[in-house]
Symmetry: C2
Subunit: 245 residues, 2 copies
């Protein structure tokens, strides 16, 4: 059996997330169904990460096993004719039998986009979180440095997440202005809890709006109390950028 790795980019607007669900359309289901035609048998994808409804990806990684003979380098163009235009296979490669999209991953990079303008932009409504009060990106960058290192992230963990350890390691966190109206966060970590990036951003924007100090933010992290943190930022600003192996 060949083990095929794909890198997927998708606009998550129309989907109920990556992972297959019984009664809602997901990215996994679409890719499994459409690529099955190419390989001539049902496919079962393993994804590197769940992404929630309306969350996007530039670099979601999946793998699957096949006895099909299509060369890896032909999959990218063949998939183009089978998939809807909001899902693109950007790379395909054959991996060793033991490669596992989720368990082999050593890190992930997520980006979160804010649109910081007085008025909303109709072209950004599905691709960023619009905040009309002026935010201080440098102050958010300063505050975000508190998450770098190994910490208990209970304060930024969704209530409904799986019962796993709340300890995660973040290698880098950044916040920067993009042009005159955009602000982007980027987090590189070994792994992330459910809603962790969105909960971090929902609290960091309070720092950016001068409603908390960077010191307050560090104390929320250290305290481990979800109720002390801010809201969960909305899904449409979140992008899975890269999975590292």
């Amino acid at each position: 059996m060949r083990n095929i790795k794909l890198i997927l980019a998708y606009d998550g607007t129309a989907y109920h997330g990556f992972q297959r669900q019984a009664n809602a359309m997901t990215v996994q289901q679409i890719v499994e169904e459409r690529l099955a035609r190419l390989f001539g048998h049902p496919l079962k994808l393993t994804g590197s990460a769940r992404t929630d409804a309306k969350v996007h990806a530039y670099g979601q990684v999946v793998n699957f096993y096949t006895q099909g003979t299509i060369p890896a380098e032909r999959i990218v163009l063949a998939a183009k004719g089978l998939l809807p235009p909001d899902i693109v296979v950007v790379d395909a490669a054959e991996e060793a039998p033991g490669f596992h999209a989720r368990r082999s991953a050593t890190g992930k990079v997520y980006r979160y986009r804010l649109l910081n303008t007085r008025l909303a932009n109709p072209f950004e409504r599905n691709y960023a979180w619009h905040i009309s009060t002026r935010l201080d990106a440098a102050l958010m960058h300063e505050a975000a440095q508190a998450v770098v290192g190994t910490h208990d992230f209970s304060a930024f963990r969704a209530a409904g997440g799986a019962p796993v350890s709340p300890v995660r390691t973040i290698m880098a966190a950044a916040c920067r202005e993009i042009g005159t109206s955009g602000i982007e966060f980027e987090f590189w970590g070994t792994g992330f809890l459910y809603h962790m990036v969105r909960n971090l951003v929902g609290t960091l924007v309070e720092v950016g709006g001068h409603r908390r100090t960077p010191g307050d933010f560090a104390r929320v992290l250290a305290g481990g109390d979800r109720h002390a943190a801010g809201i969960t930022a909305p899904p449409q600003g979140l992008y899975l950028i890269e999975v590292k192996y």
Copy 2:
């Protein structure tokens, strides 16, 4: 009666164009219906230009008459709560009684966006025309200069257009690379025939792909034969940027 001018930005993806139609949802209908609640009476918008289904606007201008008393400067924020997120009122002002969004216009600026990458980008599918073969932007810019001035644009006129004079004046035409993967055309003219920008772009990309020379393009314009020109570029790359008065 007060004469109110609005500048509208909209993502045209979900609409059958600007102008009201009997059996399809249009931008005009949505804005008329939603803003009627604000003014307390039915509104009749006059738009500066039709935009086709899936065509976008950053600066569509409309005007309407009202006896409502809401100050112009309050309309922008009030509209935000009434309109869907793909239509935004970016400015509102009171004009002299004779101001007419279409007839008072002295010029319009349209932009057309190409995505020139091997693979499609799922985030650009509704916002640019994806062309995977490499295009020469400098050569398209050179060719586009032929349209500057006053010309008979019959070669770039849609078959189904209104029976108006095919003569139009173009003040400026440009084509430039945006980053590593984008190419933008911009046309500033006193007026445009139906599908004219899309027909110009559909022919200019043949120059960019070295299938016609700039001289060929100029001869197509001079010849006035629609069949000698290229295809109509798809609607999702077109943006009404600005209307000049």
